[in-house]
């Protein structure tokens, strides 16, 4: 592997790429090539990861979030090494005649070359548009030079589920958010469906009127300790309940035979035995799960479609700026993780 790469060379190759695509289109019809771009999406992962999965996610995102995609693959090595390649990914949407293409840059770097990367990525970012950095691994996030790389991005997306201890990770994220950085955590994004189900229950005005009765929230999860997602859900619920005038506490219920970190049950109970009792329970094989939503004696079941990288990232890219609800919940989640 080479030790240096020239951003100017990569930009030149990108320009050539579009000229080629332009020539391959139908210039005689005056169509040319019109590029639309909404951001630069930088994805950071381990070299050992299968990049085809990542590129598939990029391709799926492109119609809704057209971007210049830069994938940086890190190799644990103390020797400086950098290399790059440029290519495009095109696809023909069903029923259409026009191809959609996006430009892609893949950079392979050793850990030791991390300090060299900001000066490479900065010129590659599309002018005037947001830069979003998606960090897929805990190891790279923990490298000494990572904050300098992340500082190029307006928003950093990561997944605390793969970052190790929830309390420590949430504390670090909260610290960075308080320092003014815009952070998104896919563990929070996974809670969107849970939050939607809770919100839908209280669209019923008679239930909403009784929300202040709730004194206890129980969250069931796989593993021995609550995951970041569990803390987020607990934090969000407590904030919402406080907003409705309820004074509630959270009780954590470890569940057996459940994948570690996965949420399986949520209960919101009033103190009185005949008071409001709400529960959401998720069951079934992975990929074929359903959620049972029960309010007192009334129950209904709904499909609980699985999340994947595409659906999670799609949601996060739709929020270009700060997400105040997430940031508020993050702060509360840190307190919960420290025994509030």
């Amino acid at each position: 592997m080479s030790t240096t790469i020239q951003p100017q060379t990569i930009l030149h190759e990108l320009a050539e790429l579009w000229v080629t695509l332009g020539k391959e289109s139908a210039p005689d019809q005056g169509s040319g090539v019109l590029r639309a771009c909404a951001m630069t999406l930088v994805t950071v992962l381990e070299e050992s990861e299968d990049t085809s999965d990542v590129w598939s996610v990029m391709a799926a995102l492109m119609p809704e979030h057209p971007s210049r995609a830069i994938v940086i693959r890190f190799r644990p090595s103390a020797e400086r090494a950098l290399s790059s390649r440029v290519f495009s990914q095109c696809w023909m949407p069903f029923g259409q005649r026009r191809q959609i293409c996006c430009e892609q840059i893949e950079i392979t770097a050793s850990d030791a070359s991390l300090p060299d990367l900001p000066a490479v990525i900065l010129p590659l970012a599309v002018a005037d548009l947001p830069v979003v950095l998606w960090c897929r691994g805990a190891r790279v996030f923990g490298l000494e030079g990572f904050p300098q790389l992340a500082s190029i991005a307006g928003k950093v997306v990561l997944d605390s589920a793969v970052m190790g201890g929830a309390a420590e990770t949430l504390g670090r994220l909260d610290g960075r958010t308080r320092a003014g950085r815009i952070i998104a955590d896919l563990s929070w994004t996974r809670m969107t469906r849970w939050r939607q189900m809770v919100a839908q229950i209280f669209e019923n005005r008679s239930y909403l009127a009784r929300l202040s009765e709730v004194q206890q929230v129980r969250i069931g999860f796989g593993g021995n300790a609550p995951s970041a997602s569990a803390y987020y859900l607990g934090a969000w619920l407590l904030d919402c309940l406080e907003g409705a005038g309820a004074k509630a506490s959270v009780k954590w219920d470890p569940a057996e035979k459940v994948v570690e970190g996965q949420l399986v049950r949520l209960e919101m109970n009033a103190a009185e035995s005949d008071g409001l009792r709400v529960s959401i329970a998720v069951s079934g094989e992975p990929g074929r799960q359903c959620a049972e939503v029960r309010v007192n004696a009334l129950a209904n079941r709904t499909v609980f479609a699985p999340d994947n990288d595409y659906s999670l990232l799609r949601q996060e890219l739709s929020i270009p700026g700060r997400d105040p609800v997430f940031e508020k919940s993050l702060t509360r989640a840190v307190r919960l993780a420290h025994g509030e």
């Binding site: 100017q8 579009w18 020539k23 900065l122 739709s318």
Partner: protein
Amino acid sequence: MVVIFGANGDLTKRKLLPALYRLAYERRLSPGFAVLGISRTPMTDDQFREKMSSSVEQFLEDSPFDKEVWTGFARSLFYMAGDVSDPQTFSKLAARVREIDAERHTGGNVLFYLSTQPSQYGEAAKGIGDAGLATGQGWRRIVIEKPFGHNLASARELSEKLHQVFRESEVYRIDHYLGKETVQNILAFRFGNGIFEPLWNRRYVNSVQITGAESIGVEGRGAYYQEAGALRDMIQNHLLQIMATTAMEPSATFQPDAVRDERAKLLRTIRIMKPSEVLENSVPGQYGPARIGGADVPGFRQEPGVGPESQTETYAAATFFVDNWRWAGVPFFVRTGKRLPKRVTEIAIQFNAAPYAVFGEHGDETTPNLLILRIQPEEGISLRFLSKRPGAGMKLRPVSMDFNYGSSFGERSPTAYETLLLDAMIGDATLYTRQDMVEASWAVVEPILNVWHEHKFDFPNYASGTWGPKESDDMLARHGHTWRRP
């Protein structure tokens, strides 16, 4: 006939001959066309042809090298050894011009191209005049490269020397930026489209940013650059000309002098800074060492030929105001620098934000519309606007829509030198700089140079690979703006 002084130099090899060859390739040159190269190195015509053949093959941009076309073109190349400081050179030159004229039937038209040291311009013009070459059967024109003086007084002095031999209409001061397709397209864009011109004024335009960034350092030109600096090297000529083209009033016709009159008028309306205003409205910078893309790059003071305490600026930024009805109060932020993150020359016109935040809770409404005119490396135009994100809800986000010359037309754009050389041959001076324009831009730049010269700056003040010194960001912040990221 084109007579090139300095025919063994880099400019001839890299730009002039490849451009002339390409014009021949496109059959834009008349059959009697000829090139006579002059430099001090002794060489025969055939040796010159051989040397130029390999240069053209090496430096031809986006174009095939056709051996058959070259063979025909090479027959029009001639060479004579001569020193500009030796009067004998010009009498020999006169004889050689007559000889080639007789052989090729050039019609007596001669374009003198001075690709020499600027200090030799006056001497070369005098030699041409003394040898009786400035007049003749056909037209006579002279092309000179920048710098056109190193300040207002020396620019006037140079003009006086040239005017002793040539009329102003025969002097072609070349600024290769103006030959670029997108710079010409500014005029087409502004005056050929009904939708933009009504917006092109203080009522709708919030500010204009002009960036001329280089990713490389001085690359062996340290000794020259140490005497010039970024303000002289880029802003005084290229960037002020671009600014004038962007902001000028429409000309009544597209005749060369009508367009140049408007450009000159604009340059004369740029507010001249008082000495007390200079440090508030301009920022010099100098790059320090850094690592870029895994390679160590030296700081300016570590470059060969540069003094370890050099005060020469490799970065310059300034805030200009145009005192006329159209642009009153609109700041024009101009910056240039070496060792910036990427090579890019762009004009960004920032429009006022929408007057009322109707989508205030749903999107980033502080993002104003931006129109970007990209001059290099990818010539094109982009428009940034807010768009509703697909899906439920009214969430807005900025989107950039690009028009790219290369990919949209699917055909090669001529290089700036092809355009400008052909224009000089056909007598179209629209894209050339006139003496009054040179003087007007020196009048703008000179007060800044004078104040900078009196100060000792704490250089280096920006790391290579970054977008310049913090003081430059502060200058924009004082006006309530930020530099965009090109």
